[in-house]
Symmetry: C2
Subunit: 341 residues, 2 copies
Amino acid sequence: MKESTPITMKDIARELGVSVATVSRALKDSPRISEKRRELIKNYAREHNFYPNFIAETLRNSRVKPVKIIGVIVPQFTHFYFSSILSGIEEEASARGYRIMVAQSNEKYEREVDICKSFFENKVCGVIVSQAKDTAKYDHFQSLIDHGVPLVFYDRICTGVDCSRVVVDDYMGAYTAVNHLIDTGCKRIAFYGFSMRLEITKNRYNGYRDALLNNGLQLDSRFVKYCDNRADAEAITPEILSMEDHPDAFFAVNDDTAIGVLYTAKRMGFHIPDDISICGFTNGQRAIACDPMLTTVEQRGVVVGEEAANILIGQVEGLIPSDKVEKRIVRTSLIIRGTTR
Amino acid sequence: MKESTPITMKDIARELGVSVATVSRALKDSPRISEKRRELIKNYAREHNFYPNFIAETLRNSRVKPVKIIGVIVPQFTHFYFSSILSGIEEEASARGYRIMVAQSNEKYEREVDICKSFFENKVCGVIVSQAKDTAKYDHFQSLIDHGVPLVFYDRICTGVDCSRVVVDDYMGAYTAVNHLIDTGCKRIAFYGFSMRLEITKNRYNGYRDALLNNGLQLDSRFVKYCDNRADAEAITPEILSMEDHPDAFFAVNDDTAIGVLYTAKRMGFHIPDDISICGFTNGQRAIACDPMLTTVEQRGVVVGEEAANILIGQVEGLIPSDKVEKRIVRTSLIIRGTTR
């Protein structure tokens, strides 16, 4: 695996008859060097296994300063939606010369406070956060803001502090999905959602309700359930599907719940989507692993993450006034697959 | 949303007739305070919405030092296995008073070099990394080691530098899976894997081969394919299943590929698992979203992450000699579900 002694910039410069500065600039894609010459130098470097000894460079150059660090709090890394958002944040941060420090709250208030504390001690330039389900006090967020550390919320917005945020268009996402169910002939549409305490449930419920009412359909409270995971969906759906006038469609606030409905209905002998239509919300990996594949609302987590990082960096760099509360809404889109007609 | 003025440690101390130091210690769960008294103080604090003003505390206390930072390089956040590992790293780091700085290489060598550079500039105490598929030169890793920054590899091990690592037991995982297929009556078992350049493919292939040979079965090279994703599996499987003596089982190196085989076989009219058995490797979210649910090898990403952080912190704190190459193997387990008999 050992390679021969790596060549240096000096070697390249001598070999190609240019200055070391020219080589250095060319390798950094500087526009001060003509494109032709840049390509020549880069190709030569590549062919001769040149790599810049960044550590020697860092040690030599006292002007090198650590990059700025953005603190990111994620409820749980293993949720696909959150990992998509993290990916978007990292992409945007990295492209603009920042690094991210991340921590997961595991939905615990105490951990969130602890994370804020250590982010502050580590002098992060700002914090991007989706709050824990557990969090009902906001002093730790307010403290950061009061001490000049800008905050941007994503997904789960803190209603207790007034600051910038990025959310998806939950209302339109739900409205469009339910409208599609109605357009394809469904008339008795059930709603499975999170606790109504959460903003996202309210907005999705309102979208569901308005789609029904605007299409002249009735809202049937027997079909509106607090249910946000597969196990619960598998537990409550048999009774609902045993009613004589059972729903002919389900709109669920996440894919996991929708998949619980899907397999329960299949087990009970219903054909999907002929007898029962199902629509989820997320468009994660599960949505294409199930059979048939799930119609769902794409939440575009990567874009949410990019927008959040974009606002934060804007505030850090003074492109957005620090006292401006920036609210961005990322549009969702309906992905039609096999669980709807 | 506003609450009444928060109480301070002083208030608690006065109310309970103890010193402020006692309150402070009790809230930090110090064993210097009796458990009974700790509970009393913590309950009082909880009931009166006390929260420690950590920022004032930090600003007041000049001895507060930033926590140490571990740099973590992940090929892609949105892969379920990698996000599980990241979760394990973060849990272990956080429990031991460290924070993590993370970046994704997106499978690009250049980005990996760049990340190493900025991690070094930000004075991380060590780096945990799974290398990019693209990486074939290792000087950036060697440089970090040479400059006293310990490295620990996970999952994709760099064979070009000699340092600590955590991998799963790929050989035994594959051996056990294929043995199960044979035990349940399968005789012609196909293998779908990554490029043989990768250590994990070699190890899984060897486990597959040995399970066949130890059970007196033949290795059939027509059934050994370079195929590591669903689209490719859907492209190549129809031809294989059209052979007269087609395989009666498939062992795939990840769940995604296994699911490609599953749905292709179903579409062609085969019954799963009666006609064809299928086993994957990962046990991610997809494995229980598909129908039937997938038999697969559980890789225990969280444990891999915890072990990696454990080694690194051990080296940083001198619990493990810095020149010792620590190799840990995390055992896999076979999860039997509906795609095998």
